[in-house]
Amino acid sequence: MSLTLSQAVVKRRGKRILGPVDLHLSTAEITIVLGPNGAGKTTLLRVLHGVERLSSGELALSKPDAQARQEQAYVFQSPIMLRRTVRANLAYPLELLGTARPIIKQKVEHWAERIGLADALERHAPRLSGGEKQKLALARALIRSPDVLFLDEPCANLDGRSTREIETLLKDAQLRGTQIVMTTHDLGQARRMASEVVFLLYGKVHERADAKAFFAKPDTQEAQAFLKGDIIE
């Protein structure tokens, strides 16, 4: 699925927090959105997913809007758990689509196995640990086999092991044809995962490049400083 933003601007209380942004996403396998705090990464992802309204400009999708949204999934920065069991959380997106029960059951058990929660299916999801919640949110997003998957800092606050597990799941989803767009604070993760990088600064796309080229030597000074770990304001 291709997503195209033209002259996209988001304003909040009169202040411009994103844009104007022109961005076309289509072929890349894993797009990593980088940038300092407050650069507008979360806002950009939400705009692309269509859950944040544009103040001006537009978002064009290669499919009809309603269908496109069904084929996208989003993992929010702090995982949103339904106040239900792990099983019910996994089943929920499929139930909404009216999927047949036996298929739901089979998929739920498959994904619970993949995220190591096969023995926790009847546990209350809000009581899981942070890492388990994040994995559950990811599995719940992948259970519909989305065309596009957005992730907002999926590994913030996770230990090394959970981070590795999540990266493995993401790489695997990508191989099965899911296009991934994610933000991260973890430059190591960005290097491991990215096929292309979108570097945001002050709500604008400051630089966009192939991952190899970007990490070898970014074009702009600001991106160089960012990679070095300097504080840019």
Partner: protein, 234 residues
């Protein structure tokens, strides 16, 4: 001191032997308050939920009015219902004054704002928590409401129980519109007021125990509900 002991002992026997008056009054209390609960819940649960998820122009005003209504003194509610239902009032033709129906009307007016307000708060919290996910999954309006009602079911039940607790213990309004007529509109609270006035502490205390037991049961249920909520059982 002796009076109290004698009263307690007599009250105990009234309860143990299922004294006819005591049972009749208790059943009437339950009948009136449960009826009021059903009617009030039918209004307040959907209204509170709607208020929580629907943005409209006068939402803030509606919430403010709701909170103000919650603070209405029951006696004043009683007075208003009395005026509305009295022979010369607009609804006088129905002849409802001094019947259990009048008491139900008064209790509905008293507890509907309470139930709606608790419902509104709980559902607003739940909606804030779920909002992004439900939008992201492009749920239909119907799916959203069903999800919120199902996952908020304990909160809704808690709101209803709180309303019942308020209704069963209320005395000012039902005294005015019901008239505390023996074998007709006498309920736990009004009977206690009357018997205490007459100095018949045995029956007053016996009824008091029943009332306390009911109130306790309601509170234990609310507490249990909040525990199952945290543990995710049921």
């Amino acid at each position: 001191m002796n009076d109290i002991w004698a009263g307690l002992e007599a009250a105990f026997w009234l309860i143990v032997t299922l004294d006819a008056d005591l049972v009749e009054i208790t059943l009437r209390s339950l009948q009136v308050s449960l009826s009021a609960l059903v009617v009030a819940s039918l209004i307040a649960l959907p209204f509170g939920t709607w208020l929580a998820i629907r943005r409209f122009r006068y939402r803030r005003t509606a919430i403010a009015v709701l909170n103000a209504l919650m603070g209405l003194p029951p006696v004043v509610v009683g007075l208003i219902v009395y005026l509305l239902l009295s022979r010369s009032g607009p609804f006088g033709v129905f002849g409802l004054l001094f019947t259990p129906s009048a008491m139900i009307v008064a209790q509905v007016i008293i507890i509907t704002p309470l139930i709606a307000s608790i419902t509104h708060q709980a559902m607003r919290e739940l909606w804030a928590e779920y909002h992004d996910l439900l939008i992201s999954l492009s749920t239909t309006k119907r799916q959203r409401i069903m999800t919120l009602i199902w996952d908020g079911r304990r909160a809704l039940l808690t709101a209803a129980l709180a309303g019942f607790g308020r209704a069963i213990g209320e005395v000012g309004a039902i005294m005015i519109v019901g008239g505390n007529i023996d074998h007709a509109t006498r309920v736990l609270t009004t009977a206690i007021a009357l018997e205490t006035g007459k100095g018949d502490f045995a029956l007053a205390l016996g009824l008091g125990f029943v009332l306390i037991a009911l109130a306790l049961a309601v509170n234990i249920l609310i507490h249990t509900l909040s525990r199952t909520e945290q543990e995710g059982r049921w």
